[in-house]
């Protein structure tokens, strides 16, 4: 374990007061706060070491190229990829998934093929597939979770067949908190001849990722949910698969040789990184990942498990509150509904009490609807979350329940 109160000092924003009172920030699943090391690192690059990488051969350019490529190695090690060439920097997890849909999907999906996703996917791992299926004539198939939000193997197997070309699945649901058994899913998918893309943007901010152990073919995650800056994400792809994929966008940095007649393209990963990259953000992202590793992923997991048990116990004591997503294997994301109170009304009172939660459909309308709602409130943890935050949530929920019951 680690001293979470000590850790909180690394996050300047956690000391901010709103209306003279501290804030219980419980929206890390939407985006995590940033530790000073990330901010300092980016400031340092901009002030001491800035130039466009992969271009000049002067000191700053060489130095920034090293830093940028080193950031790629940090991401590689963080997810245990075999080679840094398998890491493509993107804008975010959404772009990572769009890249695979637009390049791999356009090349390999044909009429009659199927893409299989879970019912719990957020829009980022749903809409790109829906779109590329429409373009190619492939079919989007969906496997159901249980009413509690659990992965159900037989539901998955039922939808998996020799037409399935790709299984795209989240490692951790941003609505239900459910953790999906990726290794098991990958094995079954491969047996059926399908590739697997893992959306790890929630999972990677909480649990260790091992793409070699999972044996997944693609994995997408973002920097900003893992304590890094916005505007940067990563796509992992097995080298032999990435090499067969056509480029995503065209321009500088992704070329080998250009004439007016013909252009040949660079090897991976440069082939997928057209134009000047968000390299300062990539360096910042790496710093965020290193920050997590320094605390220790195992320690993060223990801390989160303890908070999860604490939260479940408290939320069950709020009158008329229903937690949506009670999977056996779940992480620190809690969506809930308080009967008779619209989530927007609830969020209003929570905001007045300085409790920051998300409300709405969480960019995952189908699963929110499937669970019987149009809108939900959601509290989610970061590595800096403390029991006092949960206590503040509990007190604010009790106050809201009373406020709306009496009015």
């Amino acid at each position: 374990m680690y001293d979470v109160y000590q850790i909180r000092k690394d996050f300047p924003i956690l000391a901010e007061k709103v209306n003279g009172k501290s804030v219980a920030f419980l929206d890390s699943a939407a985006s995590a706060q940033k530790p000073t090391v990330v901010l300092d690192k980016m400031y340092e690059v901009y002030t001491n070491a800035y130039a466009n990488p992969h271009r000049g051969s002067y000191f700053f350019a060489e130095q920034i190229t090293r830093e940028f490529e080193n950031a790629r190695c940090v991401v590689q090690k963080f997810i245990n990829a075999e080679s840094a060439k398998e890491i493509v920097f993107t804008r975010n997890a959404t772009e990572s998934i769009n890249l695979v849909a637009a390049t791999w999907g356009a090349k390999y999906l044909h009429a009659g093929d199927e893409v299989l996703i879970s019912e719990a996917e957020h829009h980022a791992n749903l809409v790109p597939w829906q779109h590329i299926c429409e373009v190619t004539g492939a079919k989007l198939k969906v496997f159901a979770v249980s009413d509690e939000g659990d992965f159900v193997e037989e539901n998955f197997i039922k939808k998996l067949n020799d037409k399935t070309k790709l299984v795209a699945v989240t490692a951790m649901s941003n609505v239900l908190g459910t953790i999906f058994p990726i290794k098991q899913i990958t094995q079954k998918a491969h047996d059926a001849g399908a590739l697997v893309l893992v959306d790890a943007c929630q999972f990677a901010a909480h649990y260790p990722v091992d793409v070699q152990k999972w044996n997944c073919d693609f994995l997408a995650f973002s920097g900003h949910k893992a304590y890094g800056p916005t505007g940067i994400g990563a796509l992992y792809g097995k080298a032999e698969i990435l090499r067969e994929m056509p480029p995503y966008q065209f321009g500088g940095d992704m070329i080998d040789n250009v004439t007016f007649d013909k252009t040949t393209f660079a090897d991976i990963p440069a082939r997928f990184e057209a134009g000047t990259a968000a390299f300062v953000q990539a360096i910042g992202m790496a710093e965020g990942l290193k920050y997590m590793e320094n605390i220790g992923l195992d320690n993060l997991v223990s801390h989160e498990n303890e908070l999860t048990a604490y939260t479940l116990n408290l939320l069950e004591q709020v009158p008329n509150l229903q937690i949506v997503g009670m999977a056996k294997n779940r992480g620190g994301v809690f969506s809930f509904d308080v009967k008779g109170i619209h989530p927007q009304d609830l969020a209003f009172v929570l905001n007045k009490e300085n409790v920051a939660v998300r409300t709405g459909h969480h960019c995952a309308q189908p699963i929110v609807n499937r669970m019987g709602y149009t809108s939900l409130a959601r509290a989610s943890f970061g590595l800096y979350t403390v029991k006092e935050d949960i206590d503040a949530l509990f007190a604010a929920l009790i106050k809201a329940e009373k406020f709306f019951r009496e009015n």
Binding site: H342, Q344, S375, N407
Partner: protein, 135 residues
């Protein structure tokens, strides 16, 4: 029917957000009911996290709106918005400074450009209707 001045006077008395928003909820309860048949996609105001419906009626050169929401605080805010805009000519509607009125009432936090809270979308919709009926 209360006018804007009376409303402003009432709001001056409140101490703390609880009292103020209890009153907002009460105003929502007194809102002229919207016929259930209008609670369809056609009359929905986009850009609201809760469901918000707004139906115009143009009669004798004046615009009159009915509205409703499934969130009770939002319904209260709708009641105030409609009290500000109802029974005015399209020209009058376009000269209303709703931000200023909400600031006077101490309710300006409800008119943010956030996608969460759709009250600005509702005001925009009212102005659109005013444009459409202006001749």
């Amino acid at each position: 029917m209360m006018n804007l001045q009376e409303l402003t006077e009432n709001f001056a008395f409140f101490d703390g957000w609880e009292e103020k928003y209890q009153y907002v909820i009460d105003l929502g309860r007194q809102l002229e009911p919207l016929d259930e048949r209008f609670k369809t996609e056609e009359w929905k105001v986009k850009g609201c996290q809760s469901q918000v419906w707004l139906v115009p009626n143009f009669d004798g050169g004046l615009l009159h709106f009915c509205g409703d929401s499934d969130a009770i605080l939002v319904k209260g805010i709708i009641a105030i918005v409609l009290l500000i805009y109802n029974n005015k000519t399209p020209q009058e509607i376009k000269t209303v400074d709703v931000m200023k009125i909400f600031a006077t009432l101490g309710l300006e936090e409800n008119l943010t450009p956030s996608r969460r809270n759709g009250m600005m979308s509702m005001v925009a919709k009212i102005r659109e209707y005013a444009d459409a009926y202006e001749d």
